[in-house]
Amino acid sequence: MSEVEAYLAALRDRLRGDPALALRTLDEVADHLYAATEELLATGLARAEAERLAVQRFGPAEPVLRSLRRRTARALVIGSGQALVRLAGWGLVAVGLSGAVVAIFNAALGTAFTGALPGAYSPGACARLLAIHPGARGCSAAAVLENAQDAVSLRLLAGALGVLLLGVGRLWTGRSGAARSGAGPAAGQVAAPVRGLRLGAAGTVDAVDAVAAAAFAGGAVALIAESVDLAMRTGSGGVGFYLSGGVVAALAALTFGRRAVRAALQARVPG
């Protein structure tokens, strides 16, 4: 093994951290050492001497290894932030979708299915409810209307916020992804193939799917249990309030679960 190859093999053994950044470090050091060797060969040195000098001038690998550790930690922090934004975004979008489900329930099954939540209303609350719904026959009827309508409008509002958050997350991910993988090939030059380069640190972004699937599954179980409990107590009154969320959470858990499994099966090892 030549001196440059030995240096690179030793470096490869010591690389730890984000795979894409580690690969980038190795590529960068390799290009440096080969470029230095070529330049020294051109001055008339023998290959062994040129390689020895190139390695000596490069110096110890600690600085690049430190830099890799720092950048891995940085990518992890950024990736976690992006993951949180995406998770919050999808969570809010799911809330919005459950609002749409409530709208369907309201139209198909009547407002009591979602709006007839158990509970007593104070005279003050009743007055407020009747002021909002003057056509309602009594306080409970006004409460049913108010609950059923709020479950649509407020949830749709949350969904719109979620879409906004996902857009922000997408912009953020795109920008940091470009910074990590490089801004593309310079004009007139051929780009090297990008091999399994993924956004986010050490699969943080990929983990969003798995975490979302788990969170939605937990939410689905809790919400469906709540609707079953309510159905046993009230018959059907207010069941839609929880069932709408449970249905959306269950579908979301399935969707994200499938995505997570697919991503895991298709993940490629950089290098």
Partner: protein, 107 residues
């Protein structure tokens, strides 16, 4: 890199080299050595952490190209990097003038 003055001004020097156009790591080292008449002869591996810091700060950007079968990363100054270079250079000149006013000229 033994010279502490060189270490503290490395980022400014890298920005100064990249101001003349995009370059890869080894070309930057060669330019540093050439422009300093061989005085700035540092452990070559030590420029990469500085380049990566500049990139994380958005002052330089990099792209990968294929050169004789190797992947080569080329760095270039961003618009923010150019601005930052101008500011740091002004600060550097101001600082050296004040140091000189205190310690006097070497000759």
């Amino acid at each position: 890199m033994a010279n502490p003055l060189l270490r503290s001004s490395l980022e400014l020097l890298l920005l100064g080299v990249l101001r003349h156009g995009p370059a890869h790591g080894y070309a930057i080292i060669a330019a540093l050595r050439e422009r300093s008449d061989g005085e700035f002869d540092l452990a070559e591996g030590s420029i990469y952490p500085a380049l990566h810091r500049l990139e994380d700060a958005g002052l330089v950007e990099s792209s990968e190209v294929s050169v004789s079968g190797r992947r080569r990363r080329t760095y270039r100054l961003t618009a923010r990097g150019e601005q930052e270079f101008a500011e740091r250079r002004t600060a550097w000149f101001g600082f050296t003038q004040r140091v000189q006013a205190v310690v006097g000229s070497a000759t």
